[in-house]
């Protein structure tokens, strides 16, 4: 597929023919207008700008708008008019213990998922840089497979691995000697019935899906560092730990910064994995902020106004992190 595209250049389209007779000179005049006002880049951006504006930016504005309204079931079926309620939804949320519980779960789980994904990914990236060419290609192909696995599949597989009856995780933990934390009490242990084990499982899925991207990016970053730097550090008697913190990390700081912020954004907003692991919207004490917002909107009776306020809070948190991400990207020179 690839080869046919790059191998047959050009005869996809005949050169532009003469303008149609019914519009004498129209095309030339339009082209001259575009050229004179330097409109070409704007015309090229128009389709993407329109699609993004209608399908991404406008819904964001709508979320903000709904969050100040009492939009719910009554308004949906037309039994009552939609009214502006000012900050009513937000005031309600701030006094809602479920909101704080879900926010806490989101923050805590991201605080574990992000460092874990970064550490595992960086270690694998460093390992890849030390391996021979063939072995490195093999290991990175395998990791990229994990990255490409759909979140739905990964979550269902991990639930199966950790299921109390017939799951391989509980079997393994029960077999493990007690000084390693194993023991018979693991047999039949449920990983989905309460928040801590459920989020442990979700963390496993997130790390498994997320570390390959970190590893491949770190590897690419390592390749930009001249090998002489490592060699001279080694000659100076630095061990691997020292070399990493004295040479590798300072040089790759911008990359790590971007990876950190991306991970924070992804893991704070993790949805699919948690949704599947906690068994759809069943267990309210296992909701994170995204799931809580979603269930407010889409379980009966729908409370779109309240859910929009939650969604807007989620969006604002993400945007605050994104500001850091954008600044790190600008510093890295990504906008050139």
């Amino acid at each position: 597929m690839v080869r046919t595209i790059s191998g047959q250049p050009g005869h996809l389209r005949a050169p532009a023919g003469p303008p149609p007779r019914s519009l004498p000179g129209f095309r030339q005049r339009a082209a001259a207008f575009v050229r004179r006002h330097r409109l070409v880049p704007y015309l090229l951006l128009l389709p993407s700008a329109a699609v993004i504006a209608v399908l991404v930016l406008w819904p964001t504005v709508q979320i903000a708008e709904f969050s100040f309204q009492n939009y719910g079931l009554q308004q949906e079926i037309g039994a009552a008019p939609t009214q502006w309620v000012g900050l009513g939804n937000y005031a309600h949320i701030l006094h809602d213990p479920e909101f704080w519980l879900s926010l806490r779960l989101s923050v805590l789980s991201a605080a574990v998922m992000v460092p874990l994904t970064l550490i595992v990914g960086t270690l694998v990236g460093l390992l890849l840089s030390q391996l021979g060419r063939r072995m490195a290609a093999f290991v990175s192909s395998v990791s990229v497979l994990a990255w490409a696995t759909p979140a739905v599949s990964a979550s269902v597989i991990f639930v199966w691995l950790a299921t109390p009856d017939g799951g391989v995780v509980d079997w393994f933990l029960a077999k493990l000697p007690s000084w390693l934390g194993g023991g018979a009490h693991w047999a039949g242990f449920s990983w989905t019935n309460s928040a801590l084990p459920a989020y442990t499982l979700a963390t496993a899925v997130v790390v498994w899906l997320g570390f390959p991207f970190i590893a491949v990016t770190v590897l690419a970053g390592l390749r930009t560092i001249p090998t002489e730097l490592f060699e001279s550090a080694r000659v100076d008697g630095g061990g691997p730990w020292r070399i990493f913190w004295r040479v590798t990390y300072p040089l790759m700081r911008p990359i790590f910064q971007v990876l950190f912020l991306l991970s924070v954004i992804w893991d704070f907003g993790v949805f699919t994995q948690v949704f599947i692991i906690i068994g759809e919207l069943g267990q309210r004490d296992e909701y994170n902020l995204g799931i809580y917002e979603y269930s407010t909107a889409f379980t009966l009776p729908p409370a779109y106004g309240m859910a929009s306020a939650l969604a807007f809070i989620l969006t604002i948190i993400m945007l605050i992190i994104t500001v850091g991400y954008v600044r790190a990207s600008v510093r890295e020179g990504a906008l050139r």
């Binding site: 399908l55 709508q62 929009s308 906008l335």
Partner: protein
Amino acid sequence: MTTLSTSSPVRRRRLLSRRARRAGLNLLGLLVALITLFPIFWMVSTAFKPATEWYSLTPHPLPSHPTLGNFRAVINGSVIGLPYWNFLKNSLFVTVVSVVASSLIALLAAVALARFRFRFRTSYLIMLLIVQMLPQQALVIALFIDFRSLNLLDSLVGLILVYTAFALPVTIWMLRNFVAAVPRELEEAAAIDGAGPMRAFWRILLPLVAPGLVATSVFAFIFAYNEFIFALTFLGTDTAKFTLPIYVQYFYGRTGANWGAIMAASTLFTIPVLAFFLLVQRRLRAGLVAGAVKG
């Protein structure tokens, strides 16, 4: 051997320790690969096991009496009553159309961003970075309400629109690097030879950007094929319209604990995308890097 015996003991020791290091690293690499592969392996292995084997107190890595029964149940449609092909068809339709649409739209934008300097260029790039980070579980509320009034719920067209839009930021961002990598002199030379801008685009730029187009479209493909939240929300009631992720999730939710069948459904959903990945992965890794680190 002769070189070893003639060399000094110090050099021999160093060579041996280097070999030991190599072996240790390879072992570590193998371990990482095995741990990473294990969940995928276990999914496929379970899918081939009869119930007596997956429902067992001592798990066995490989099925001792492999069966196709689980796959048959999925393909014949034992849960929703529709065969697997129906959902594969939905998924491929949505994915292919949205990938083609987003690639074409992104190519235009990428040319503008890589080849022209104009006002708002930086703002547009920053806007793309921000848009990429907006939480989908937030936007889905507004899009659900809009699509309901436009009769786009329970419709694959609605999903195509959303997938096209949400794939754009990353696709534009990555394609921009590929367009920028094509030497501008080639187009200038074509212009001197009398080719118009359109001709230069089709004859020079497009063929050279094609590998990048493939790499970026793989990302759009993965996004659309794997996407969960929008499909879950928009395709709520019409099971015949389900895409594969929703189908697998529904299958998992409705089959009780028939893990053999669930893993068969999951395998039939996952393996096509992994196979596709292995086919294009070299280009893909280039794209992954171009998107993440400034190329």
